[in-house]
Symmetry: C2
Subunit: 198 residues, 2 copies
């Protein structure tokens, strides 16, 4: 698909950057929906330069340390905008190891399944809290700049997704409770669960 190209072009379309700065941008701003390491970014920049979509100027930082500052070209802007406006196909549902584990969980006891659900719920709850921390730094929606507003929408998507995941896991726990036989239901409070979780 070559999406990495457009992620890099999109960042360079905002402002000129070095490979190092791009790497940081991927682990900060983009981390919620895309990722790339420097080992992928440097070759991509080379390839983009070869295709004339970006150019670079070599700067000197300090006495000798060389640094390449990449700038998007007119051809690069054109390619980026074509992708940005494209009506992208829905990508296939991403793989999810936990859901796979849950799918096969009929071979576990109620307690074991509940432990998996509880543990997963705790992790997603924590992630949701982090996202909401990020959200709180935004100004009221009405007063955001165009760029900030886009950031906000994407962050909101991440929050809504985590909320839905947490709600689903809670629903699973409730259904499991409702599903077990009375005898198994009583076993839910048995020590085995507590020891597993603590």
């Amino acid at each position: 698909m070559g999406t990495l190209r457009y992620a890099v072009l999109g960042l360079l379309n905002r402002k000129s950057m070095t490979g190092y700065e791009l790497t940081k941008a991927f682990s900060d701003a983009l981390s919620e929906f895309w990722s790339a390491r420097h080992s992928q970014i440097y070759p991509e920049l080379k390839s983009l330069a070869k295709d004339g979509l970006v150019k670079f100027d070599t700067e000197i930082s300090g006495n000798q340390l060389e640094r390449k500052r990449y700038t998007i070209t007119a051809a690069g802007k054109k390619a980026f905008l074509a992708w940005e406006r494209a009506d992208l196909e829905l990508q296939p549902t991403p793989k999810d190891e936990f859901r796979l584990q849950l799918f096969f969980s009929d071979c576990l006891s109620e307690n074991e399944r509940n432990a998996l659900l509880e543990s997963h719920l705790a992790k997603h709850t924590e992630r949701l809290a982090h996202l909401k921390d990020n959200q709180s730094v935004f100004a009221p929606v009405e007063s955001l700049s165009q760029a900030e507003f886009s950031d906000y929408l994407v962050l909101l998507g991440a929050i809504r997704r985590e909320e839905a995941t947490c709600a689903w896991l809670e629903e699973c726990l409730q259904l499991t409770g409702g599903h077990v036989q009375p005898s198994a239901k009583a076993a839910k409070a048995a020590p085995s669960l507590d020891t597993r979780l603590l």
Copy 2:
């Protein structure tokens, strides 16, 4: 991570299957959270057999067509159950090309951004409808077998995720509407949007 191994072992733990049948299972039952083509499955089965986690018997279908029916071994069951009970780490948020596109959408006009959101919403709405069709074939929750109940929980997760995605996209459209300047707001009903969408 080697998750494919456990997906295959999990299926073989339910019942013995051929590579061809496993391939179908991936495109049917597992498709909502895992995928694998036959070109990945056949080598994996070879590797699992080499490690003693599965064994196979060669059957003849018709006059000559050979078919290998794979069965999980005791070692295979042990390995599978260890994974099934494991407290898996939260995987990093999966890549999402649409969110990347939205993140950079501050370089588009309001109309263009809305067109992307609307188009995406339509696709997710349709996917949600398909999932709900699947859900409707399940018996009432109370009367499901253990295996059916696991299936049901996972399907429910897919439904909740699609619902959250649709709700988020609708929220974006509403916020966008609230965000635009009055003049731009009037332009929302301009012909350009309609022509783009139809």
